[in-house]
Every structure is written in C-alpha cells, then in structure tokens.
C-alpha cells in the first residue's frame, strides 16, 4: 500500500484562483459552444464511440442470439399463420381508413394529416458523459436533417427531444430527466398538466392538474395539443397514483412511463 503523506508544501491561493478562473473560462466556452467546440469534439469522437458500442452490443448479444436461434423455426411458423390472418385484417382496415377519411371530409374536420408523422430511425450509441442527466446520444445528426427540439419516440411512446445536434450524432434529453417538462393531457378526461422527471426512470410526476377536474389511476396520458415542441397524442404513460388533500389546488399524480428507458436501442425521430 502506498502511504499518503500530507507533507506537500502549502502554497498561496493565487494558483488555485487562476485555475478556477481558467475553469470558468472553459465552462464559458462549453456553454456558448464557442468555435463550435462541442460540435467539433463530438464529431471527432463519434467514430470511436460508434465502433466501441457496435462491438459491445455485438458481444452482449451473442448468448441471446444462440438462444433465439432455437425459437426461430417455431416463431417463423407462427408468424406465417399470423401474416395470413393479418392480410385479411389489413384489407378490412384499409376499408375502414377510407371510410374514416370520407367521414372526416364530410364533417369538414381539419388537420386530418396531424398524426401521419414522417419518421426517421436512429440508433442509440451512448449515454451522456455525466451520469446525473438522463441523456442519450443517437447516430443521426445534421447530415440526416436532425434539428434541435425534434421529438424522439419509440413504438410504445414518447422518449424525449433533441437538445443538441452535431455532424453525425445528436443528444436527446429523456422525459425522465429532472429538467424535462412536457405539456400533457389525460386522454380520457382531457385534464391538462405538465409531466416532469421524478429522479426515477420508472416514474414521472404530472403537475398542475386542477383539483376540480377528474383523473384516475389507469388513465392514459398523452402529449398535449398545447405543446409547442411535441406533436399531440403521443403516449407518455399511464396514471399510477393520484393523491389530493382537501386544501390542494392540484392533484399529485404519478405516471408510469409507456417506454422502458433502460432498453432503448433504436428510436424514431419525427421530421
């Protein structure tokens, strides 16, 4: 064991002050992204990050792939049966879509195109360097047309939004981050609120839901039409707990996220 002796010569405060000032200067450069510093570093480091995550994911997926191979044959048979059933269902569905469009036109309903998102697929290549933020990095950047504030979703629901874009990659802040806020609405009762991170990736807080309204456990929470960033109607989660005291102006609501954030590999960007 190496002994540690606090016998270092006590120096003046001047060097410490100089280094702190230097640190402040570096922070200033980072915050303002001076000379595109974050952009340059992220772009240079991207190939290394991408290669390493590719190797790691490949190595981690080997045991799973071996197990999956055994089930492939049975799954293939099952899928063929389901495909046949789906084709007939699809024909019916197309008929229903046509009918829906006709009815909407008849009602002069505006914005029929609202939910037809143009999606782009992206792969999660890394998480944020600071473990204290719920941040992830995806392999689509400026070259793929990604812009700040683009919405990121998966099949299950809302993941987050793009906060920073570089040449080949982008940073996405998850809705579980403590600093994330999403305008939301109860799909059943149309009660509005704001969904925020809750220091826990399995739970979100829905705030500012008026106590005179009605909200119940099991209600589905989706993005609100009032949001300027997120398109409306994207699932956020399900109400898991509702509390209110007589004197409270708002409900205390906990929402179970629709997305499993620990297993995100591919996500979709809404263009």
């Amino acid at each position: 064991m190496k002994p540690y002796r606090g016998a270092r010569r006590k120096s003046s405060y001047r060097p410490a002050v100089i280094i702190v000032l230097l640190a402040l200067l570096l922070s200033y450069f980072t915050i303002n992204n001076s000379f595109g510093i974050r952009y340059i570093f992220t772009s240079i480091f991207y190939p290394i990050q991408y290669s390493v995550q590719y190797v790691v994911k490949g190595a981690l997926s080997v045991p799973a792939n071996i197990i999956a191979l055994h089930n492939l044959s049975r799954e293939n048979k099952d899928l063929k049966t389901r495909l046949t059933t789906s084709i007939s269902k699809l024909a019916l569905f197309e008929e229903l879509v046509n009918e829906n469009v006709r009815l909407r036109q008849a009602l002069d309903f505006q914005g029929t195109n609202r939910y037809r998102f143009k999606l782009g697929v992206a792969q999660v290549i890394a998480r944020g360097a600071s473990p204290y933020t719920s941040l992830m990095e995806i392999n689509q950047g400026v070259l793929s047309g990604v812009r700040v504030d683009m919405t990121v979703i998966v099949e299950a629901g809302l993941v987050g939004r793009v906060v920073e874009v570089s040449l080949f990659s982008s940073k996405v802040i998850l809705i579980t981050d403590l600093k994330s806020s999403v305008a939301a609405v109860d799909q059943q009762n149309r009660e509005f609120g704001v969904v925020e991170g809750f220091a826990n990736q399995h739970s979100l807080a829905m705030k500012y839901v008026s106590s005179v309204g009605e909200i119940a456990v099991g209600d589905k929470i989706v993005t609100s039409p009032a949001s300027k960033i997120f398109p409306p109607g994207i699932p956020i989660g399900t109400v898991a707990q509702v509390k209110k005291r007589d004197s409270d102006l708002f409900y205390d609501v906990r929402v179970k996220p629709a997305v499993n954030f620990s297993k995100l590999e591919e996500v979709f960007l809404i263009y």
Partner: protein, 156 residues
C-alpha cells in the same frame, strides 16, 4: 509522454462512461468515473498537475453532456478540496481516496439536487436519496479499479 498518457486515460474513461456503463447500471444508478479519477489523481499527484487534470476531465465531461455545464468548475473545486484536506492528513493513499469519494459523491449530488430544486424542478426526495446512496456505493466500488488503472497509466 505522461501528459499524452493522461489524455488517453481520460478518453478511455469517456468511452467507458458513455458506452459501456449504460449496460451495467446498478439499480438504474451510474457511477461518475471522472469524479473518482479526479479524487484519486489528486491524492497521487502534485497539486498543480492534479488541478489541471481535474479541469481537463471536467471539460471533457462537459463536452459530452448537455444542459448543466458545471463539470469543469466542479471537478476543479473537488480537486482543490481534496488537495487541501490531503495537506492535513497522513495515511494510506487508497483509503484516503475511498474516504474522499465516499464524502464528495453524496455532497456533489446534494448540491446538484439543491440547484435543480431551487431552479424550480421539484422531484421525489426519496428516489433522489436512493440514487445518491447507489451512486456513492458504485463510485466506491470502482475506487480500487481506477486506482490500479491510474497507477498503471501514470506510473505514479
């Protein structure tokens, strides 16, 4: 040569932090390798060098973060703090590093939590305390590993 080794060491830490650790979270908590490295290097090296190392580590961490760009400043402050306390302490370097990580990790997270709280973002105190505990334990568990790697990397 040593500077080059240190830069390479920081880049390897960055890769582990951003790419590998998301696969090995401890009940959702992730360690802060840079914090552990800064504490250990401050204990091992001269005060001046270690503060520059801390600034470099924090700066790199800030470049690959978003939202809160306080890592450069906080890592420098941590380095100065550990260096300052170290001047008054005599003992085993590894135990001192572990003690400092055990004290500074929760302290850092509490300060960060307070900043977020007074920034208008309210959250579950219970879950946050749990995260503090888990992150501290995770950081502590990594002290011997980083200590060993750092000795190999710097030859100190």
């Amino acid at each position: 040569m040593r500077t080059f080794k240190l830069i390479l060491f920081l880049l390897v830490l960055l890769l582990i932090q951003t790419v590998l650790l998301p696969f090995v979270t401890f009940f959702g908590a992730m360690p802060d390798l840079f914090l552990v490295a800064v504490v250990i290097y401050t204990v091992q090296a001269e005060k001046g060098t270690s503060t520059f190392f801390a600034a470099g580590a924090g700066f790199l961490q800030d470049l690959f973060s978003a939202g809160f760009y306080v890592n450069t400043l906080s890592k420098v402050v941590i380095s100065l703090l550990v260096g300052g306390i170290g001047d008054e302490v005599v003992g085993d370097a590894r135990s001192f590093s572990a003690s400092m990580v055990a004290i500074i990790t929760p302290l850092y997270l509490i300060v960060e939590g307070l900043v977020i709280y007074f920034g208008g973002h309210h959250f579950s105190v219970f879950y946050y305390l749990l995260e503090i505990l888990l992150t501290t334990l995770y950081n502590l568990a990594l002290v011997p590993v980083i200590y060993f790697l750092m000795q190999k990397a710097t030859g100190e």
